[in-house]
């Protein structure tokens, strides 16, 4: 017999059907435990103050951090539609108040940089350590299916 919790989940699935698939605009954290752990760990970035490295590094705004998480949520949700889980990136302190999302595997690497300037797009670069490369800019509020496919390499 289905539990009340299962029924609620089924209701939510029905709700998803009427939502636009792309772009996904949600700041809801991705429901991926490993990813959630990395996000929680990365929040220490927000505690850094100006000149935290003694070389003039800037502090990090929660808006920038949230944009990075929105990017992850959008791609996680997109992949979930196909039964796939987003590989967990390292969420790190990028240059000049930006946030880096860095994936590195044995066969490919991808860096997405979410800038502190809210009017600017995120930039990305990835390759397979050989001739295949992916490079460009993306609105971090939306899912980029090309990037999502790259993450499934």
């Amino acid at each position: 017999m289905p539990t009340a919790g299962a029924a609620r989940a089924w209701d939510r699935e029905n709700d998803f059907e009427v939502w636009p698939q792309v772009p996904t605009q949600t700041s809801e954290p991705p429901r991926n435990e490993e990813l959630q752990t990395e996000i929680e760990k990365a929040k220490k970035i927000l505690e850094l103050t100006n000149d935290w490295d003694g070389q003039g590094a800037e502090s990090y705004a929660s808006d920038t951090f949230d944009r990075a998480i929105t990017f992850l949520a959008a791609h996680s949700d997109f992949l979930k539609q196909f039964g796939l889980a987003l590989p967990v990136p390292h969420i790190g302190a990028g240059p000049n108040g930006s946030i880096d999302l860095h994936w590195k595997s044995a066969s490919w690497e991808l860096l997405v940089n979410v800038p502190a300037d809210m009017t600017k797009m995120a930039s990305f670069y990835g390759d397979n350590y050989g001739v295949q490369k992916i490079k460009g800019s993306v609105d971090p509020k939306t899912c980029n299916p090309g990037l999502a496919a790259w993450l499934m390499n």
């Binding site: 490295d53 070389q55 790190g92 990028g94 880096d100 860096l111 800038p115 460009g136």
Partner: protein
């Protein structure tokens, strides 16, 4: 030149030299740019079009670490080979000595953000940790 006379370079500071491709450049890497003992690309930061490094002809890795204005032990030191940097499209290495630091040099970086993201990934592959963080083994 008369005995005791100074060249223009001496009067202004140290002369600018060409850094050979085989030489190494040192830079500090703050603890925040590591995940465990793995260096992350955030260490490469564009400061008005370039990134400060020390040429190994005039500074050791240890001296580079000690130049930190805040707690040096929060920093590791990484090494990049000049020729490897020059092989990356859009990058250059220049000796830019300071009166206080003859080793001071700059890695000239691209301004375009997409290019900068690319070169940070490529620089990361060149980087070798020569002095690990305190509490970690090399």
């Amino acid at each position: 030149m008369q005995p005791g006379a100074c060249s223009v370079a001496d009067e202004l500071g140290f002369p600018t030299e060409t850094i050979p491709d085989a030489d190494a450049l040192f830079m500090r890497a703050h603890r925040m740019h590591f995940c465990g003992d793995v260096l992350k690309p955030g260490v490469f930061r564009n400061q008005q079009g370039s990134m400060s490094v020390n040429w190994n002809k005039y500074a050791s890795a240890q001296a580079t670490k000690q130049q930190a204005t805040k707690n040096p032990d929060m920093n590791a030191v990484i090494s990049l080979i000049a020729g490897g940097i020059r092989k990356i499209d859009k990058l250059d290495v220049q000796h830019t000595p300071d009166p206080d630091n003859r080793a001071h040099s700059e890695v000239v970086l691209p301004i375009n953000e997409q290019d900068l993201t690319e070169v940070r990934v490529l620089l990361l592959r060149l980087a070798i940790v020569v002095i690990p963080l305190a509490g970690q083994q090399s």
